[in-house]
Symmetry: C2
Subunit: 291 residues, 2 copies
Amino acid sequence: MTIAPDHPALHVATAATFIERLHERWRQGRFVCVGLDPVCERIPEAILEGRTRGAAMLAFNTAIVDATAEWVCAFKPNAAFYEAEGIDGAVALAGTIAHIKRHHPAIPVIYDGKRGDIGDTNRSYATAAFDVLDADAATVHSYFGQASLRPYLERADRGVVIMTSNSDPGAAEFQDLPVGDAGEPLYQVVARSVATRWNGNGNCVLVVGAPFPDKIAIVRREAPDLPLLILGIGAQGAAVAPAIAAARDRNGEGMIVSSSRSILYASPGMDFAEAACAAARRLSEEIAAAR
Amino acid sequence: MTIAPDHPALHVATAATFIERLHERWRQGRFVCVGLDPVCERIPEAILEGRTRGAAMLAFNTAIVDATAEWVCAFKPNAAFYEAEGIDGAVALAGTIAHIKRHHPAIPVIYDGKRGDIGDTNRSYATAAFDVLDADAATVHSYFGQASLRPYLERADRGVVIMTSNSDPGAAEFQDLPVGDAGEPLYQVVARSVATRWNGNGNCVLVVGAPFPDKIAIVRREAPDLPLLILGIGAQGAAVAPAIAAARDRNGEGMIVSSSRSILYASPGMDFAEAACAAARRLSEEIAAAR
């Protein structure tokens, strides 16, 4: 009897924590993160036929996941696209994560819900992300400070992905405000706070925006050892090479390069999964050339 | 044939927008907001028996809502407590909001999910809050700036409740950082930005923390006409009178005073609903004495 390499019985053999799994994928040269942000209006007709919208999202996602898994270091479902479909979407999100855990246990899942509340409430959010959905990491807002995020930070086996310098041009309104005596931009203070004080369990990740390599470089300087989640590659139009050059750590690693629409919708037809695989591979090769 | 005053056919007769409904309740002297944050471990045994956890949360919530509606200006379910129960919790949240809409259509519902993403993604979050759940208002993070929140801000009939100065002591870590040449705390800059530039549709609300009346006073000065959602009353231990004195607008109104645990769990027994009503009334009277 042979056991397939992705059999759940082998799950325990994979690296245990989020960060360890990430490092394992980096060692294999995998830095792409596929953002699983399905929109029914862009899912091929043949997938939608005879299915509820949630069931179609799940069918689309599992095809994308299976087609791109070889090229990625993580998958990142964004809660917004599931919540917009109500209960049906909630089932699709849970089913998508369960599929990844079952069939691709080596690849960590980042639940992108961008939450941030008082500590007591964050305890329930952390339970929802890490225990109910069984995600390996979750995105959070830093505005309420370190104390409020303790329920996330204390989960040493899970990743805590903190909004720092984002890909939206308008995000500069507050995140770039000069703060303190030195007049440093707020995002720099956030990056340094996380790197020097919040990361006691070594499970923090910082979010940066690919369109702004200069800001990525500042974040990398403040946090030389932290993984950076890079947003804005692909449909948001940012160039790959300058972002990678600014984001890589001293080992040429330390990057989670997220792309969503340009992979999910690489083809509008029923060859969408093959096209997604090709798009993920192309991005992976671009990163390899730049790092 | 008579139509009961809470019949949905009369729904159209109530004030149309979130802000108008709020003003209508204020005119009736109602400023309490009950935070619907149910935790199964604190729900009476008799409610839990024979029900799923989600069904018990819904039964508990509807009893609380019906018992306290007379004394409130809004209800505020916090997403964390529902998401921690998975799909069952999502059904309880949808059912809770549907119950309020059906039986208490004059009372607005604030969906407390504290979201904040890029503009494109916020469009899906706004759909989820306002169209799928049919909440009248939603809480959001400001970190990505005004442009990102356009999908919320452009919904003139709904409220956009923006994190400003929060009730957690640790929240001072970033929100109190001195900004720019004037060295004003970040939360003050957020309050002024919202009041002077974001509030074109007159649908913005600012969040302040009851334990810090001095900060509430600064926010009120920057935003003389905006409703303030006051958190931290009750179980979080803040005194009512100083918070109200700092928060009231020139009409002695402009306040949404949220309390959760001290109303929900006013009694551990099967008289929990009556006890909740009494606790809401007491808080309402305390506010009346202080405003």
